[in-house]
């Protein structure tokens, strides 16, 4: 990198008025991101615009590529060079990124991919919010693969979770997705930028020892194999083909089985590190609302009002959507008789709640896909309807 410095663009004590997309960009720089490749697309373009300004100041690289596919390919290339790298997109752009997202997952290349969700399918509603990409984030690229997707619910959380995405990505050698919708991306809030030095200081494990003994896909006890940069003398092969520990392709069933387990084991071993959520009064709640992102905010207000009326209602808000924190969700919602899953799509997270619940609770969906966010009163009404049936 050219003249790399670690100085943050803003003093972390400052209180600033900032838009979600800009907070995403600053969170990335604060976490040590020094490479961004992107392609203009609404409603995520401000992430790129801010980074085009910020990255040169810290000696980083900003490049606008010819398309979304090239953007993520360049991001992966830069990451293989040893630099914390990111790309951001929305809607159709996220579809185009799926191919190389799979390459990053298979070859275990750290990077951060931000998706500012807009209405779909296809071109849909570029300037309207949606949570229609939750399942695409989980299963969008072909083949079996693990995934980490973070879903911040405020401008401040966009800043911290983007920074955290880099730390998880570096530590676990995996592309990490950050999903938030258009309304959060364009929301302006006054925040004090939190200290993310911990995330900035988290870098991937580098290979050490003799090159002849190094295996690029031999995991340590934490399930993650150290990486080697070009120039370090290891001369490693990287491929999207299924590989043995040596990094070269294999089709032997025993080796393929090991290769797949390598992808999933690191997720299981580091479950506690990955998991994050917000729990509002779930402990004694008979009705638990499950909501994420901007809907989580409306749900928090709904819980407050319903509690004031004497109803035992709680909120479970996944911040790490994938892998879904199933065990924790079960533990926290033991008293629940029913779930209200509020989401800005026709019913995606509800499928996971159906699978995660342990018992005979009813699961009701509150869905909105008309381009407007779900309001607190809608959630209150949905919960009351459920309470009436009990």
């Amino acid at each position: 990198m050219t003249g790399q410095t670690s100085q943050n663009t803003l003093d972390s004590q400052d209180t600033i008025n900032i838009q979600g997309n800009h907070a995403c960009a600053l969170g990335a720089v604060a976490a040590g991101c020094r490479f961004y490749a992107g392609y203009p697309i609404t409603p995520s373009s401000e992430v790129a615009e801010r980074l085009a300004k910020e990255l040169p100041k810290v000696g980083g690289v900003f490049i606008q590529m010819e398309d979304e596919i090239a953007s993520i390919a360049a991001t992966l290339g830069a990451s293989m060079g040893g630099v914390k790298s990111m790309t951001a997109t929305s809607g159709p752009g996220f579809s185009l990124k799926q191919e190389n997202l799979g390459y990053g997952m298979g070859a275990q290349i750290p990077c951060v991919v931000v998706n500012v969700m807009r209405g779909g399918p296809s071109t849909g509603m570029p300037t309207r919010p949606s949570q229609g990409d939750l399942m695409q984030a989980r299963w969008g690229t072909h083949g079996d693969h693990p995934v980490i997707a973070l879903t911040p619910g405020s401008v401040e959380e966009i800043y911290t979770q983007t920074a955290r995405a880099f730390a998880l990505s570096e530590q676990l050698r995996i592309p990490v997705l950050v999903l938030f919708d258009e309304s959060l991306g364009h929301l302006v809030e006054t925040i004090a930028l939190p200290d993310v030095a911990e995330y900035e200081n988290t870098v991937r494990k580098w290979a050490s020892g003799k090159p002849e003994d190094y295996k690029p896909y031999r995991p340590d006890a934490d399930g993650v194999a150290p990486m080697a940069r070009p120039g370090d003398g290891y001369r490693v092969h990287t491929t999207g083909l299924t590989v043995s520990e040596s990094g070269f392709p294999t089709q032997k069933s025993i080796e393929v089985d090991r290769a797949m387990k390598r992808l999933f084991n690191k997720m299981e071993i580091n479950k506690d590190l990955i998991e994050s959520f917000e729990d509002v009064d779930c402990e004694d709640a008979e009705v638990v609302i499950v909501a994420l992102g901007i809907v989580g905010r409306a749900a928090r207000m709904a819980v407050r009002e319903l509690r004031a009326e004497g109803h035992k209602v709680g909120l479970f808000r996944p911040i790490t959507l994938w892998p879904f924190p199933t065990q924790t969700f079960r533990k926290l919602t033991k008293k629940a008789k029913s779930f209200v899953v509020a989401e800005m799509n026709s019913g995606q997270m509800i499928l996971e709640i159906g699978a995660a619940k342990q018992g005979k609770q009813t699961v009701c969906g509150l869905n909105r896909y008309d381009g407007d966010p779900i309001s607190p009163s809608q959630i209150i009404n949905a919960v009351k309807e459920v309470l009436d049936h009990e």
Binding site: T2, G77, M80, P230, R235, G240
Partner: protein
């Protein structure tokens, strides 16, 4: 494209010296030093031109004195995509059509590396066509070797953007009716700083062309006419592999001979060989770093 015009096919006077140097050079170059021999036998079919191109590339890398620890070889998908795996360097077998985009990220993040892309006619011109024209436009310091075998070999012999007219392939059972791309002219038009084409029968010429491309500071596009004997050759009765390689001298025309009207050995053919473009356009990475220096300088002035 016809920039190098030599009216007579006379031998240049320094030819003997060059030959002596070449002999010394042959003794000096050991291909084993640049290969992952534990991966052998390789996957290439008997007679495939890709192995010859690989040798010429490694020889050129040797001639340029490039340290293989600082060499990044990036390839896409297809027969060309598998060639890089055998090189004992930092090798990246990326997704179909995307090696130039991947290479752009790597070279921007790590300007200290020598970045070489090995791609094919399908990888580079069809699925990766957009990345080619923009890599050429930016003129980032990447050497792109496009192995043009005029067919999709790995998938069993389907028509490609460079399959000649009337050629039979598995997806043109009645003969190809599509016009072909001239990849070198495309790269030139898009702004590549260095463009050249060579055939696999002339290994020293190919080596020297690649060597010049590696040395060039900017985007160098080198098209290698490489025979697919097993799939393309068989299907079209193009002869044995040696007949196909020898056929290159009839169908290709070094650019030196372009205006030579008395010359008969070469069939008039738009596919000429040699260096077509060598310009002094600014290299993108250097321009970017200059811009960063300016921004950081101004920032310093601001904070004082």
């Amino acid at each position: 494209m016809n920039k190098h015009v030599i009216p007579q096919a006379e031998e240049p006077p320094e030819q003997n010296n060059q030959q002596n140097n070449q002999l010394e050079n042959i003794r000096d170059f050991e291909i084993q030093d640049y290969l992952r021999l534990d991966l052998f036998p390789h996957f290439m079919c008997p007679g495939c031109g890709h192995g010859i191109a690989l040798r010429a590339l490694l020889w050129a890398i040797h001639d340029q004195g490039i340290d293989k620890n600082n060499l990044a070889i990036i390839s896409g998908i297809g027969c060309s995509g598998r060639v890089g795996t055998y090189i004992d360097a930092n090798t990246y077998h990326t997704t179909h059509g995307r090696p130039l985009a991947f290479a752009t990220g790597l070279k921007m993040a790590r300007p200290d590396l020598h970045v070489v892309v090995i791609t094919g006619d399908g990888d580079c011109l069809a699925i990766g066509g957009n990345h080619l024209i923009h890599a050429a436009r930016r003129n980032l310091d990447i050497t792109c070797i496009m192995l043009n075998n005029e067919i999709y070999g790995m998938t069993g012999g389907q028509v490609s953007p460079t399959t000649p007219h009337d050629r039979f392939t598995t997806t043109t059972p009645a003969g190809n009716i599509e016009p072909v791309f001239d990849a070198s002219r495309l790269a030139e038009a898009a702004g590549a700083g260095f463009v050249g084409r060579e055939v696999t029968i002339h290994v020293p010429r190919l080596r020297d062309l690649i060597s010049e491309g590696l040395d060039y500071k900017g985007f160098s596009f080198i098209e290698v006419m490489s025979d697919c004997t097993e799939i393309n050759g068989r299907k079209n009765d193009l002869g044995s592999s040696s007949e196909m390689v020898l056929g290159q001298t009839r169908t290709m025309r070094p650019s030196e001979y372009d205006n030579n009207v008395v010359d008969h050995p070469f069939r008039p053919n738009s596919m000429n060989t040699g260096v077509f473009v060598k310009s002094n356009r600014p290299e993108y990475g250097a321009s970017y770093r200059d811009m960063v220096d300016d921004i950081q300088e101004k920032q310093k002035g601001h904070s004082v």
